[in-house]
């Protein structure tokens, strides 16, 4: 009887509670973004006066124009885009080759896969010292290109893992037909397997891009000239070159919003792929 009563009385309240929970989730995830957008639309005078309301006093885009004119933020954005895109291309390419080999070509995938995944957990700060010495020796410091190779530690493990799982799911008969017709393995991979695996390749590319765009520690350690900085490093530098007594977050947050936008857009467009990529990467 109590169970019956509960079922009769509670569904309404349960539903209200559930939607309240959804609201809380949305607020916690998104409100902080509103707050930096709001801060970035304030003039320095308004910002210095302190915050007294949830809404900005009036909107000014001067922080955004200043980010591009005074702070020359376009350069670091371009650097970040070049590095992230190049890292993504290399990881998807190397990851496809290795993933295909492990899914199909009878290499000992156990030990290799273990190594690749363990490499993905290697402490980043433990890499910084030796790579700093190496890059210094080779004259690679303060250049964005060595970062492409370095960032592979973020992207290649997950890309290889995803693509291997993806290739393993594709029925082998597809390439068998091509192979019987006299195609080489590589040709079959390129012409038959990769086109079928486009969703997997796409997922690996999106995750690689996000992870490469995210880096701070390597850029901080290896870059010295502001014109070589990546976007995250440039933002932090913006804060540290300011007056130490009051950090003008209205200026910084404009840059923060600019860096966030492409990522937010990517997530909105590819949410499903990112979720499937993260979970396939974790639970198999």
């Amino acid at each position: 009887m109590p169970a019956l009563r509960r079922r009769l009385r509670w569904p309404g309240w349960g539903r209200v509670g559930f939607y309240l929970a959804v609201l809380v989730v949305l607020a916690v995830s998104l409100f902080p973004f509103y707050w930096i957008v709001r801060t970035s639309l304030e003039t320095s005078a308004e910002f210095s006066a302190g915050t007294t309301s949830l809404l900005p006093a009036h909107l000014t885009f001067s922080n955004y124009t200043q980010a591009f004119t005074q702070a020359d933020f376009a350069r670091p954005l371009l650097n970040s885009a070049i590095i992230a895109l190049a890292t993504t291309a290399v990881s998807v390419f190397f990851g496809s080759l290795a993933g295909y080999a492990m899914a199909r070509l009878r290499v000992p995938s156990g030990p290799i896969l273990t190594f690749i995944l363990v490499a993905g957990f290697f402490p980043v700060l433990a890499m910084v010292g030796p790579l700093f010495l190496l890059y210094r020796h080779l004259g690679f410091l303060d250049s964005i290109y060595p970062l492409i190779v370095t960032y592979l530690v973020y992207t290649l493990p997950i890309a290889t893992w995803l693509l291997r799982n993806f290739f393993a799911q594709i029925p082998p008969d597809l390439e068998e037909a091509a192979l019987v017709d006299g195609a080489t393995r590589l040709r079959a991979l390129w012409k038959v397997v990769v086109p079928v695996a486009v969703p997997g390749v796409f997922t690996a590319a999106i995750l690689s891009f996000i992870l490469a765009w995210n880096d701070f520690a390597f850029a901080l350690s290896f870059l010295q000239t502001p014109s070589k900085f990546t976007a995250p490093l440039a933002i932090v530098n913006l804060g540290q070159t300011q007056n130490a007594f009051q950090v003008m977050y209205n200026r910084i947050d404009a840059a923060v919003v600019i860096v966030t936008l492409p990522i937010a857009l990517l997530v909105l467009l590819a949410q499903r792929r990112i979720v499937s990529g993260l979970t396939a990467g974790a639970l198999r």
């Binding site: 290795a98 009878r106 910084v128 030796p130 700093f132 995250p232 977050y249």
Partner: protein, 315 residues
């Protein structure tokens, strides 16, 4: 029964691996396979295996850039004895482990709740999932600076909220105190990383068949009972994965610390990774830094081992 949980992957790998050659094509396939695996393996060896060995070598030598006279000379275990007797190392290790335990525990509880919410079917669930994923996808620099703005004593939302409701703590300079700094770091870290854990757990939830719950409901189980007796045990594999990932990430925390507090006030929020960064790029002592790095690697392995062992099914 521990063997049953570890055996399947090993068996699966062996299936695809037949070391004794077969026909010519199989042998050619394998040769091509090694060739195709090479770029990935070599580039990962270059950025992880090489630093590991170089650190090991450096840690037994004098490698301080400010001390050219002694450069590359053998130093025995002096870097390690200096490390283990350094109070900075011991205290940063304690702080790091403390942060790891507290943040992972907190984030796991929140992530289980979030996963349960995201698991329910409702209108607009895709959009909500996207909204939750954005904090995970933005660079750590963004999440750290965003929460630094939120905790700003005069322009932060936290300050505004406390002021509006006349609560104590308004105008707190959060990042000027040790524990308030840790609170801000914890919030910034959790905001970015809970979504990741929740997505992993969500995948785990989706593997649990609905009829199990249905059976429990018919037997008169309460919502709490079915969560405690069905959801949690069946979620264990996903929990292990999420915990290992997060524990290692939390143990190696650097970006958030560097940006929000710079290890301060004083050195009260300095973690092991920050300590290592300081040794390498501020003190330019690559021998001592190498010793820290080696300890970071060893401790990471220990943590991964503990997490996987502790959560193995016991029956």
């Amino acid at each position: 029964m521990t063997t049953t949980t570890t055996a399947p992957p090993a068996r699966r790998f062996r299936l695809s691996w037949s070391p004794r050659g077969g026909s010519d094509r199989l042998r050619a396939d394998r040769r091509l396979g090694y060739l195709l695996v090479a770029p990935a393996v070599v580039s990962l060896l270059a950025v992880t295996g090489y630093p590991l060995l170089y650190n090991l070598w450096n840690s037994f030598h004098h490698e301080n850039l400010t001390d050219a006279a002694q450069a590359h000379t053998f130093s025995g275990v002096s870097n390690y004895s200096k490390l283990f007797s350094s109070s900075d190392f011991v205290s940063s290790l304690t702080r790091t482990v403390g942060f790891m335990v507290v943040s992972v525990a907190f984030e796991t509880v929140v992530a289980v709740g979030l996963a349960l919410v995201l698991h329910k079917a409702f209108k607009g669930r895709g959009l909500v999932r996207a909204a939750v994923l954005i904090p995970w996808a933005v660079p750590t620099v963004v999440s750290a600076l965003l929460w630094k703005t939120m905790f700003d004593p005069r322009n932060g939302f936290v300050d505004y909220l406390l002021g509006v409701f006349h609560l104590p703590g308004a105008h707190t300079t959060w990042l000027a105190g040790e524990w308030t700094s840790w609170a801000a770091i914890l919030v910034a870290d959790a905001w970015k990383n809970v979504p990741f854990m929740a997505i992993i757990l969500l995948a785990g939830l989706q593997l649990i068949p609905d009829d199990v719950y249905e059976a429990a409901r018919i037997d008169g189980a309460s919502a709490w009972q079915s969560f405690r007796r069905i959801t949690l045990p069946l979620l264990k594999p996903a929990l292990v994965v999420a915990l290992v990932f997060r524990a290692l990430q939390a143990f190696l925390i650097f970006d958030v610390i560097f940006i929000m507090t710079g290890g301060g006030p004083g050195t009260t929020t300095e973690t092991l990774s920050y300590f290592n960064y300081h040794a390498f790029l501020v003190d330019t002592d690559f021998g001592f830094g190498g010793a820290i790095s080696i300890s970071l690697v060893v401790l990471s392995l220990v943590i991964a081992g503990i997490c996987t062992r502790a959560l193995r099914p016991s029956t």
